[in-house]
Amino acid sequence: MRKLFTVLGIVSSIIAVVLALLPISNLAFIPAIIAFVFGVLAFLQIKKENGSKHVVQLTFLLTIIALSLATYKSIYNKTELGNTEQLEKLEKESEEKAIEELEDIEISD
């Protein structure tokens, strides 16, 4: 049981860190919470059995990194538009071409 909790904890915390680094950092909260829960469970088992705490400590460290990064990104990262210069240029060119094509069109109501 201790091994299972430890493995699930460390895997979830790695997933949380990876997600926190991607643009979908909001999703990192879910594995981070899971990692924290398994970390606590593993820690309690280890305490009972007097085992090594290194992996659990790493789980907590990674979870804290993931949570901090995801929180920072959700507060400070503004949703800014990418470079739309090309699109704006395309819009203008497209309108000019359209006017040429529609030159002889007579509209009827």
Partner: protein, 260 residues
């Protein structure tokens, strides 16, 4: 009998209003598109719907332009730069030229329709990237027949706003012939009721409409829903949609240059 005639009259009035009292040149609507990933909404792109006047030698047309651009944080993963345009009659929103140029995560496609109302045909050009051609593009030219009232997707979205929805009863529906990727589709809009929702431009009383291909709407599958303000402008303020992989929503951020 009288009640049936009344219902028919209501349905007809929902359908036949041809004049445009909702849209004018200079209107600009901004939206954010969010995509649902494991229950968490992620804002991925900005959609802008803009109208402007276009003058040619013989006439004045209304240009309906929709652009979509992904936010910078997504650009390195899935860059979106889409342009949809329809050049229409300002009064009836009858289209004369439609263009669609999409750039989505490396996928490029250009579609152009030139409407000919004398022969009731559309000259269609579909351009895709291809290494088999020297120019790097593969052009497909086709002529497609269309029935009266057929519009492209952009003109249909704007046409919806010119309908007398206030005269329609809950459950009333209307169908539009839409030309998309050279296929004649029948899109149905069904009025689900009125709802007041909070938006970035304030609390708005809205018409809630279900959109879909006719068969799906008749079956009661309301997976795509749009909220239009229950005023003369009938601007779309919120939409929920389902795509092949997941679902998303469109939320208004700002509106300017409204007619009423």
């Amino acid at each position: 009998m009288r009640s049936i005639s009344f219902l028919l009259l209501l349905l007809i009035s929902f359908t036949l209003n041809a004049q445009n009292n909702a849209i004018q040149a200079g209107e600009r609507l901004n939206y954010n598109i969010s995509y649902n990933m494991s229950g968490i909404m992620n804002t991925i792109a900005r959609v802008t719907m803009e109208t402007s006047e276009v003058k040619t030698k013989k006439s004045t047309l209304l240009r309906l332009k929709c652009t979509a651009a992904s936010f910078s944080k997504w650009d390195s993963y899935f860059k979106i730069r889409d342009l949809y345009e329809s050049y229409v009659n300002p009064n009836t929103l009858t289209p004369y030229l439609y263009k669609r140029e999409i750039n989505e995560g490396g996928h490029y496609k250009f579609v152009k329709y030139n409407y000919d109302y004398k022969t009731k045909t559309v000259k269609s050009l579909i351009r895709k990237k291809s290494k088999n051609f020297e120019s790097g593009f593969w052009d497909q030219n086709n002529t497609v027949n269309f029935s009266s009232g057929t519009r492209d997707i952009v003109a249909t979205l704007y046409k919806l706003r010119t309908l007398d929805i206030h005269k329609a009863t809950v459950g009333a529906s209307d169908s539009f012939n839409v030309l998309f990727d050279n296929e004649n589709l029948k899109l149905t809009f069904k009025l689900l009721g009125k709802e007041t929702i909070s938006t970035a431009i304030g609390k708005k009383e809205c018409y809630k409409l279900a959109i879909g291909v006719s068969e799906a709407i008749l079956k009661g599958e309301n997976t795509n829903i749009i909220w239009l303000t229950a005023d003369e402008n009938k601007i779309p303020v919120y939409a929920r949609f389902k795509v092949a992989v997941g679902s998303g929503e469109l939320k208004i951020q700002s509106a300017s240059g409204l007619k009423n």
